[in-house]
Subunit: 192 residues, 2 copies
């Protein structure tokens, strides 16, 4: 019938994700992609159509791979308050361990592209919505269990936490100081 692909497209998207994540969209060149994926230019374009299309797949992959981790922590077991803390700690740990300071690819996409690319904007919004929803249900649980008092509504608090993690990612780009970032988490949690 037909020749079979010599590379694994799924693995290739993972590698492309790393490149775009580290460099952003505009600053990434086809050459970098070719080098990182270890395939020829022809195969690259045959398999992925265009830089733009590959970026989109990479961003979706990032969502599946990285973004869910936050949600898993929030949806996990344990007291709601501790889960919220764990979620912030996860974001901080990711920023601190990130030697190249690539940050979060969704945050990066939001800032670099969301204002000019409707598809990217949509993807970013979707990601934010899911994270926000996870924050929200955790807060609601904590409220029901009497663990979280306060009177502020859960939706507002969820949006607030989403803002906080994005703010942390921006600050960490300039100054990924663990102590400073931990203090931020502490302060943010005090709204509860």
């Amino acid at each position: 019938m037909a020749r079979t692909k010599e590379f694994d497209p799924d693995a290739a998207v993972d590698k492309a994700m790393e490149v775009f994540w580290a460099n952003g969209y505009a600053a990434t060149t086809p050459q970098q992609l070719v080098d990182a994926l270890g395939i020829g230019r022809g195969s690259l374009y045959n398999a992925f159509t265009s830089k733009r299309a590959l970026y989109e797949r990479a961003l979706r992959r990032y969502y599946e791979r990285e973004t869910v981790r936050l949600i898993q922590v929030l949806d996990g077991p344990g007291p709601a308050r501790e889960r919220l803390r764990a979620a912030l700690d996860l974001v901080i740990a990711a920023a601190v361990d990130d030697r190249e300071r690539r940050g979060c690819m969704v945050t990066n996409a939001a800032v670099e592209l969301a204002d000019r690319d409707e598809v990217v904007a949509h993807l970013v919004r979707r990601t934010f919505e899911r994270q926000e929803a996870a924050f929200r249900s955790t807060i609601e649980e904590g409220r029901r269990g009497g663990e979280i008092s306060g009177d502020r509504d859960a939706a507002a608090l969820a949006a607030f936490f989403l803002t906080t993690i994005n703010g942390i990612r921006v600050l960490a780009k300039a100054d990924p100081d663990p102590r400073r970032l931990s203090g931020l988490a502490e302060t943010a949690l005090s709204v509860l």
Copy 2:
């Protein structure tokens, strides 16, 4: 002695600032700059050396022009608490009124370049530090006046507000909904 420039370099930097602000660094082309500044390529490079150098000047100009507004509000008259609210409102109003969703050029620079460009990182840090300092002294004033109770230290709160405004700017890139953003300010202020 020598011929004089036909264009105003200061005004040119302002225009360059607008272009970089709207498009980011990598996505901005010399052609766009030439068009926006209304000068020839020769003059552009004669006066500003390189795209990179012009970007740096544009970013510094942005700091002088836009960033001080926040600080002015915080350093202004009135009760500390109201000044903090006014500062958040300023950020939100800027985001909402920003039809092109260019966001804040410093936030954009932080995300796009701070991880690879030490000079930009330094500029961003400097900007953040000043804003943070303004938040801090406002909080300390409020504390002294008994207006702001709480026990959390002013430095931590200032860093927290800095995080919040950057988070707001990221969210606004994807979804600049005034109501949502106002709720965020409300929630953030409740830490006091």
